[in-house]
């Protein structure tokens, strides 16, 4: 437990936005709530200079001409931080520029507010793992999910094989999509190419595993065939092509999707092992009760929906 919390702390520290070395009055800046930017000052400021919304000019870096309307400025009691509230939510994935113009035009300065890229990558991973879990909130891969979740060992084997194949095939499809399909405008071939690549990956993993690590092959080989007939594995390349993810983002999505599938399988299999001992009405025996349990898991995963990390 402590190891996990330590790991999370390290990740958290790593992903904190790097404080820009602003030499002037503004010491730090970061996004607050969906429609907020928090600016902190090097030294206490006079309230009339920094609490007037008209003194701020905030734009998105790519559209410097469109000024975002600052609705109100809230100054903290020690006069060192100001929270800017905007009329509409900000697109926090884009970097923003904040300039503070005091009454005299000479003392104007500008800083850049952006989310750290590492944090953004991590949020893709967490999102695919929990918030948009492929099994419980996107309803993909259910055939294999119900088929292989009877025993914990099977579930673990399936999940690991799955993550492996998914990462390799996502990387390959990303290269194919970016360097062949897009330049030659062959987008309509997406489905054929992606499913072909997945089959190819499965064959390759099968062959390599058989030669390199026969013990592992004996443990996981049976699941490889099942992987082809699964929606998750083809959904990942389609999603990353739709969203125009770059290489690292694609990798994170594939890892998150595979990890999420492993998590779902493991949770489900532990419940189903216990369920064998329970008294279940004959009409619900087998698959129907598994569906009811999966529904309850989906209900629980709905709780992650409001989660925002970075």
């Amino acid at each position: 437990m402590r190891g996990i919390s330590l790991f999370l702390t390290v990740i958290f520290c790593l992903t904190q936005p790097l404080v820009a070395a602003a030499g002037g009055r503004i010491a730090g800046q970061h996004f607050g709530q969906a429609n907020e930017i928090v600016v902190s000052f090097a030294s206490p400021e006079a309230s009339d200079a920094v609490s007037n919304p008209a003194n701020y000019r905030v734009v998105e870096e790519q559209d410097p001409d469109i000024r975002l309307e600052v609705k109100a400025v809230r100054l903290s009691e020690d006069h060192t931080t100001a929270t800017l509230t905007f009329a509409s939510p900000l697109n926090q994935r884009l970097p923003h520029l904040v300039s503070l113009n005091a009454s005299t035009a000479a003392s104007s300065e500008s800083v850049r507010v952006s989310k750290s890229y590492l944090g953004y990558l991590f949020s893709i991973l967490i999102s695919a793992l929990l918030i948009n879990n492929f099994v419980f909130t996107k309803y993909l891969g259910l055939c294999v999910f119900f088929g292989t979740s009877k025993r914990k060992d099977t579930a673990k084997g399936m999940g690991v094989t799955f993550t492996m194949v998914m990462v390799v095939s996502a990387i390959m499809s990303w290269f194919f999509y970016q360097y062949i399909l897009k330049p030659f405008q062959l987008n309509f071939l997406q489905i054929v190419i992606f499913i072909g690549l997945v089959s190819l990956t499965v064959q390759a993993v099968d062959t390599v595993l058989r030669k390199v690590n026969p013990a592992l092959f004996n443990a996981f080989g049976v699941y490889l065939v099942l992987v082809i007939a699964n929606c998750v594995i083809i959904a990942v390349p389609l999603i990353l092509a739709d969203n125009e993810y770059n290489f690292l983002e694609s990798l994170m999505l594939a890892l998150g999707a595979g990890g999420g599938f492993l998590l779902a399988l493991y949770l489900m299999s532990s419940v189903r092992e216990r369920m064998e001992l329970a008294k279940i009405p004959p009409t619900f025996k087998g698959v129907p009760i598994a569906f009811i349990v999966a529904g309850q898991f989906a209900l629980a995963f709905l709780g992650f929906s409001g989660l925002t990390l970075f």
Binding site: G141, L142, I195, G196, C231, V287
Partner: protein
């Protein structure tokens, strides 16, 4: 090797005895994901029917030319081709319905039911039999999706195909996405109950 069933029996087999959703428990993703209305079920049913019939016929036509060792990739690519066709047709002529179904049309390519029918049936039988088997399986899938959609739309929104039937909304629960799991589970239990009651009646 040819099947001794008539065309009608082949179709009935797909709808009742080997219903893809309730009896074979295959292709569950759309059954849970987008069975919120009857119309959704119907549209996806049409798409699956099309893909199933055409890939069954294609594989049946070329069954003597396909090397057994590469049969699974061949099936996959055949299905992918027909899915691309229906994907483009729907995107061009029914953009609204296409937008509602989202990624699921493209995912027909990974539906276990289609690959399984090619492996179990089309690669051994005549084109004619494969055609009717494909129709049976497609209709069975459509029937399953539409019955799920019927229950969820009626109980969730009080409407059928968008027409107001009940005048009130009995259980909002059924509209919510995760209710798909409960709905499929309960309907399977219901069919099991009928089967058990039928067997008990026979024995008595």
């Amino acid at each position: 090797m040819a099947t001794d069933k008539t065309n009608l029996q082949l179709i009935a087999n797909g709808i009742l005895n080997e219903n893809p959703i309730f009896r074979l428990v295959l292709s569950m993703c759309p059954a849970v994901g987008i069975s919120t209305t009857v119309m959704n079920g119907f549209m996806l049913g049409i798409a699956v029917l099309f893909v199933q019939v055409f890939s069954s016929c294609t594989i049946s036509l070329f069954k003597n030319k396909i090397h057994p060792r590469i049969r699974i990739p061949t099936y996959t690519l055949t299905i992918a081709t027909w899915v691309t066709v229906i994907d483009m047709v729907l995107a061009a002529y029914l953009p609204e319905a296409y937008a509602k179904m989202g990624i699921f049309i493209k995912l027909i390519v990974a539906f276990a039911i289609i690959t399984m029918r090619l492996e179990m049936f089309a690669c051994k039988e005549t084109v004619n039999a494969s055609f009717f088997d494909g129709i049976g399986m497609g209709l069975g899938f459509m029937f399953g999706m539409m019955s799920l959609g019927f229950v969820r739309e009626l109980l969730g929104q009080g409407t059928i195909l968008g027409y107001d039937i009940l005048g009130f909304k009995p259980l909002l629960f059924f509209v919510l996405p995760f209710a798909g799991f409960f709905c499929v589970g309960l309907m399977m239990a219901f069919f099991n109950y009928i089967e058990l009651a039928y067997k008990r009646g026979k024995r008595a």
